[in-house]
Symmetry: C3
Subunit: 322 residues, 3 copies
């Protein structure tokens, strides 16, 4: 692969670059070896098993193995073109379901009681999710692809909209990638659910660790009743599909604060500490009462030697317990 | 017109395609005949009459004929460059007005009491709305056009911001199209007004019918006091001017859930059932208490034979009465 | 330089133009004299002094001179590449700080108590903000620049998130410009802080004056507890980085109403009265109870002769005192 080929691939992978001839010729630099990993084309058919369980503390979760459910549920990653069959076993004593945002599914995989696509207690049901790459329709119009930062959740527990299941933890992240999308070193999930983050007690994170230079992907989901504003200290992202600007011609606003409401989701990648260095960088809801009540976590960006300047885990005054 | 010419026109009609040489040469397919209808250039001067009326149930509405007011009011469609003179007759016993978002109007058409542009009880007033295509100003900067999913509403009843008129139903949709914008087969209007949709009783829709493959345009408007998140099952749109990606270079996020507050408006087109098939697809506010209280409707997508798999109008368990 | 060359400069300055061959070949020409002023390249190192003070009425403000603090604090403008050292003197009897959004700063300039970067009563501390132009990283990926409509605020007074300081007025606007960004004739700042605008009493503006044709830049910031929708009568903007469409290929939605929550910020430029003429144009929060309670101001656009048609400062009926 020659330099130009590589750079062009990266550019296109960025999702939406205006490829004028001059631009694609421009990057005559030798970064072929150093480029980030990118997503492959999809097209695979995959199968997985998912358990819906009640947790010891009364919460509910999705899990890949029996007795190992988590809140949020496991990250499900697909590439555009993939099909996923998910056999869901409901080990609880109430009906529950799996409803996904953004992906293609027939009405039998809707996950609603109205469409009889929920899972009775003790029963098993297979949901099928499909994804597709963008392309031109027969009539010449452009069809968007499935790529995006999406999520799945229960639509049945408590009410016909899953209000009880959502409150107790039945939600999780889904990422669909486009061929050429830049792959991160690590992905972290933040769910603002009512006044909690990932259903943890207030003032207890979660905190996420990284080393300066790591490419860390964030997927941020909101659930419940309230609106929030997600804010990060020292890091920013683009308000578009990938959270990454596609290049100099992308007009998207770069932000570090975003209003979001229930079932909204977005994602982005940051280079940990880029231009700002190591540190205990807060992320929090910026609605004042929400941050004061503990909707705060830390992005702990370490130097290569593992230290974090100015950070004392046992003595930081922001009321953020661990 | 040869094939390439047609395809190029479609592309440009999509509003914002980066036309690199390779892209505009690419679509060498014979879809000339199959392409969607597109909006013509504007430039017409039109006149219409609008009545502001109290409805039998105490609500208020705008209507094109006396005694035929509706909530929401009638859809007003314009093409960039059009001028519309609206003679408004207020048949009520309180002052009311017509205030529009997004369009060009002189201060005498502001529709506010402050600017003495309201309509006294029993009186008539002509409001003039103008629209314009995008273009370059004398100083070389770019002036946006009027195209968009907009709306009109009262600004006088109850308070100087029309809080009473809005609550009772004095609002309606406006769409301004750009030359080349794709025209839908059908347009539906959803207004989240306080905790109701289109001022209907909770748990009673409205439902919208379509057949798989129909190009259905949605215009979504919010009014009142609360924020909402508009969500659709099984269908998505782009978070940009048209709700349609302009092509592979459009970086906009594709979403199926969007936070919105009073007087926000947006629109999009979906191909009914595309990639997912027929079904009773819910759309609803995703704020949990709002959906539980009945801010839910159905997008009833039928097969060609008129059936909807799994849908029983008399027996669906989501608490959605008809 | 001939006109076409100038136009290209303007285009590129607009930040994100898709350069199709025909456009990118265009640049031959020269209208240097007629174009708007644009931002220069940055790269300067600047120093300023900022005082944090308690105001006579019990509010708190940032100021460039002792005893001259204002709410909002002074507008700080930078060009991408600039570094700013701000010596902050806290003249109050409680600790306070300076926390900025969007810019590059090391953890020692975080402005949080957790990172021991606040200013004790009577003390002085220097904060350093850096900015950078966009560019390609060593790995070929695109790094966004710092340009944007940002803001600074206290993070310490009252709570560890500065809830008390924010309520009392410790906030201000920051604009970072990219080389070529169009410069306005005037910039105005609107802060929706809880139920007030710029901490003024309800129903008392602020009002902003301009003459038809002026290029007026608005920076809109939200703080506190509530969500709002910012609406302007008779003027619109693009929902992207600059608020200005970059040209015909920019897919951004043009809006006149935008939902925003605490710490969100955005900006745009309008040509006062463009296509609509002079008038007393309201801007207000469109949440009905908020506008009714007085979150309203006027954009007073005068004719060249200084008059405003239909506007009587002493007798306008929207309950908006001066």
């Amino acid at each position: 692969m020659d330099r130009r080929g590589f750079n062009r691939r990266v550019l296109l992978g960025g999702a939406a670059v205006a490829t004028s001839t001059s631009l694609s010729l421009a990057p005559e630099v030798s970064t072929a070896a150093a480029g980030p990993r990118t997503a492959p084309a999809g097209g695979e058919t995959r199968h997985m098993k998912l358990y819906i369980e009640e947790l010891a503390d009364g919460q509910m979760g999705y899990g890949l193995e029996k007795g190992r459910a988590t809140v949020p549920g496991p990250l499900i990653e697909l590439n555009e073109g993939d099909t996923l069959h998910i056999e869901v076993e409901n080990t609880m004593d109430v009906a529950a379901s799996l409803h996904v945002h953004g992906l293609d599914y027939e009405i039998t995989s809707d996950g609603t009681r109205m469409n009889k696509s929920h899972v009775e207690p003790g029963a098993t049901r297979t949901y099928t999710w499909r994804t597709h790459a963008p392309g031109r329709r027969a009539d010449g119009t452009w069809r968007p692809g499935s790529a995006g930062y999406w999520h799945y959740h229960d639509h049945v527990v408590g009410t016909d909209h899953g209000t009880g299941g959502l409150r107790k933890g039945l939600f999780g992240p889904v990422i669909v990638r486009r061929k050429g999308d830049i792959l991160p070193d690590r992905t972290v999930t933040v769910v603002f659910n009512d006044m909690l983050i990932n259903n943890r007690p207030a003032h207890s994170g979660p905190d996420f660790e990284a080393t300066v230079g790591d490419r860390v992907e964030w997927i941020v989901i909101t659930h419940g009743e309230f609106y929030h504003t997600f804010h990060m200290h020292g890091h920013r992202w683009a308000d578009n599909r990938t959270g990454l600007l596609t290049g100099p011609d992308d007009p998207s606003q770069v932000i570090d604060n975003k209003i979001c409401g229930p079932a909204d989701s977005f994602g982005f990648q940051v280079i940990a500490g880029e231009g700002v260095g190591a540190g205990a960088w807060m992320y929090h809801c910026h609605v004042q009462s929400h941050s004061d009540m503990g909707m705060v976590g830390l992005f702990l960006v370490k130097k290569a030697d593992g230290t974090i300047p100015g950070y004392d885990p046992g003595d930081h005054g922001h009321g953020h317990g661990h």
